[in-house]
């Protein structure tokens, strides 16, 4: 009895410390823009965007275990939805990520139903093919998308602060939302369903889990947030074209970041995103010509030597949030 009490009060203390640390972190992130130069601000903003992509992939690839290579498909789709709606003056800027997320959610739910019947390699190839089809559509449907010439977006010119600061906060907010959803899902019945499906889909069906529905939800979630990110990205960089926003490397970056940080955990993807960006920056600064090769090398080394990432298995259970 005494032991249990001591144990639970220790856990309470750890939880309190955790919350305090989190609060400090949030405050720090909120005031950071005032202390950073534009370049560092851009880096931080990119980290948040990468976190969104990594957490998104984590829904379908980490929790449910279906290796999706379709993140780029919806990042690109979101970029174009945002860009088109903004250049046609259909919506105010702050609404573009919301619309993009919604469109991607619906499209992913529709496409998910047929392709989630596939497993392993076939699913991976199908998810990849979706991205390629979207890219080619964007390339060829010139009337809607401007084709290979891309879309130019108007600069923000807001009264709330510099453009860089606004995008920092937008991506921070999106990252926060994605994290919150990840956390909630991990601790919910849906999260348990995801885990059961990953470990044994047949058995999951046998204990009453509607695996098809759960998978579609995971896939839709893994599309909605990249969609929003794509829309914000379009406004941020001011110009998008199909080979940029539908680039297959986006689809590979997401799982690599999650692998780096630890698959199926809540914190892992963020850790991975941070590490990945660090590597990327170092490589860009010093080895521009071999940028792709060095990234390839990092990926190879990661896969060969660290398939479980930095956040190891024993911590994994706590961070996943026991349901």
């Amino acid at each position: 009895m005494q032991n249990a009490q001591a144990h639970s009060s220790r856990r309470q203390m750890t939880a309190n410390v955790g919350f305090a640390a989190l609060a400090v972190l949030i405050v720090a992130l909120l005031v950071l823009p005032h202390y950073l130069d534009n370049y560092s601000l851009r880096l931080a903003t990119t980290v948040f965007m990468y976190c969104v992509l990594a957490w998104s992939w984590n829904f379908i690839g980490g929790f449910v275990g279906y290796p999706s290579f379709g993140i780029a498909a919806f990042f690109g789709m979101g970029s174009y939805v945002g860009a088109i709606m903004l250049t046609q003056n259909m919506i105010p800027f702050w609404l573009s990520p919301v619309c993009a997320a919604f469109v991607c959610l619906v499209v992913a739910a529709l496409l998910g139903a047929p392709i989630l019947r596939l497993r392993g390699h076939y699913f991976a190839v199908a998810s990849l093919a979706i991205g390629e089809v979207f890219r080619e559509l964007a390339m060829n449907w010139t009337a809607l998308t401007g084709g290979g010439m891309g879309v130019n977006l108007p600069p923000l010119r807001s009264t709330f602060g510099t453009d860089s600061q606004i995008f920092y906060y937008m991506f921070l907010l999106l990252a926060g939302v994605t994290l919150a959803v990840t956390f909630l899902v991990a601790r919910s019945r849906l999260g348990v369903a995801f885990r059961c499906i990953r470990q044994n889909e047949e058995a999951a069906n046998m204990i009453g889990i509607d695996a098809t529905r759960a998978k579609i939800i995971a896939f839709a979630l893994s599309a909605a947030f990249p969609g929003a990110a794509g829309a914000i990205y379009a406004s941020w960089v001011g110009y998008i074209d199909p080979s940029d926003v539908f680039d297959i490397i986006i689809s590979v970056k997401a799982p690599v970041m999650v692998l780096l940080g630890g698959v199926g955990t809540v914190a892992g993807p963020a850790v991975g995103a941070l590490l990945y960006l660090a590597f990327e920056e170092i490589v860009w600064r010093n080895l521009l010509q071999f940028h792709a090769a060095v990234l390839g090398l990092i990926i190879v080394l990661l896969v060969l030597f660290m398939p479980n990432g930095f956040v190891d298995a024993s911590r994994r259970r706590k961070l996943l949030g026991r349901a």
């Binding site: 885990r195 059961c196 470990q199 044994n200 058995a203 069906n205 046998m206 009453g208 889990i209």
Partner: protein, 256 residues
């Protein structure tokens, strides 16, 4: 009350092979029915059809008065049909308790995590795994894993329990424990369909027995009668023994 489960003309083929052929059967509530037949007779396929893991090519399935053929497995589970697998399949990365709680949570319709965990603890106790909940499911012995399957099925609060060769791989003592557990479950009102190779067990445990051979139901009735049935003996041992048995004492241990 009528039958709990009614199968009417159920058929299932794989390519050119009729694994289950025009099977009609009904199981009354509270009954323990044995399902026997030589290897390849279609017993597991029949259980797969009932649980929804496979869809029938023809025929109807009625459960608690409602039609269930064509429903997906998770729906059938939620309606009250639970099954164990011949080759046990726990969720490998979860503890025993988590495995059972998951079953309680979904098909078992537990209203909260606490309820699911509580029911899981109770079921683990029921099957004799009390106190082992925190162990990783993969660290359990085969006998324990089979009981874990029981616990998961029970956590779903089923009306009908399908047991697929629960005794495969178990030694004598474990088998006795399994029989005792099944008996006590039936006493609690559970309806059970049990696939079993050991005819001795079937006779001891089951009220009624159904015999499959080449996918067809060739005999059905009280267990004592079935072991004397010439068609059954023929199915297991061939015509020669069947004829012989009709002249002398019935063969009581017709294992294939």
């Amino acid at each position: 009350m009528g039958a709990l489960l009614e199968l009417k003309g159920l058929s299932r083929r794989f390519g050119g092979l009729m694994a289950v052929s025009d099977v009609s059967l009904d199981i009354k509530p509270g009954c323990i029915m044995g399902l026997i037949g030589p290897n390849g007779a279609g017993k597991t396929t029949l259980v797969n059809l009932i649980s929804g893991a496979l869809k029938p090519n023809a025929g109807e399935m009625w459960f608690k008065g409602a039609r269930i053929d064509g429903l997906p497995a998770h729906r059938i589970s939620s309606l009250g049909v639970a099954r164990t697998f011949q080759i046990v399949q726990p969720f490998p990365e979860m503890t025993a308790l988590e495995n059972v709680a998951a079953a309680a949570m979904f098909a078992g319709k537990a209203k909260s995590l606490r309820e699911a965990n509580a029911r899981a603890e109770a079921m683990l106790d029921r099957v004799g795994l009390g106190g082992l909940g925190a162990l990783a499911a993969t660290s359990l012995s085969l006998g324990q894993r089979k009981r874990l399957e029981f616990a998961k099925s029970l956590a779903m609060q089923p009306a009908l329990l399908l047991l697929d060769e629960v005794n495969a791989g178990l030694h004598g003592g474990e088998i006795d424990e399994a029989i005792a557990l099944i008996r006590s479950l039936a006493k609690d009102g559970l309806t059970i369909l049990i696939i079993e190779h050991l005819v001795k067990l079937v006779v001891a445990l089951c009220d009624e027995v159904a015999v499959l051979h080449h996918g067809q139901l060739i005999a059905r009735g009280p267990s004592a009668d079935i072991t004397n049935d010439p068609r059954v003996i023929e199915a297991y041992l061939g015509e020669r023994y069947s004829k012989r048995s009709q002249k002398q004492q019935p063969v009581t241990d017709a294992t294939s």
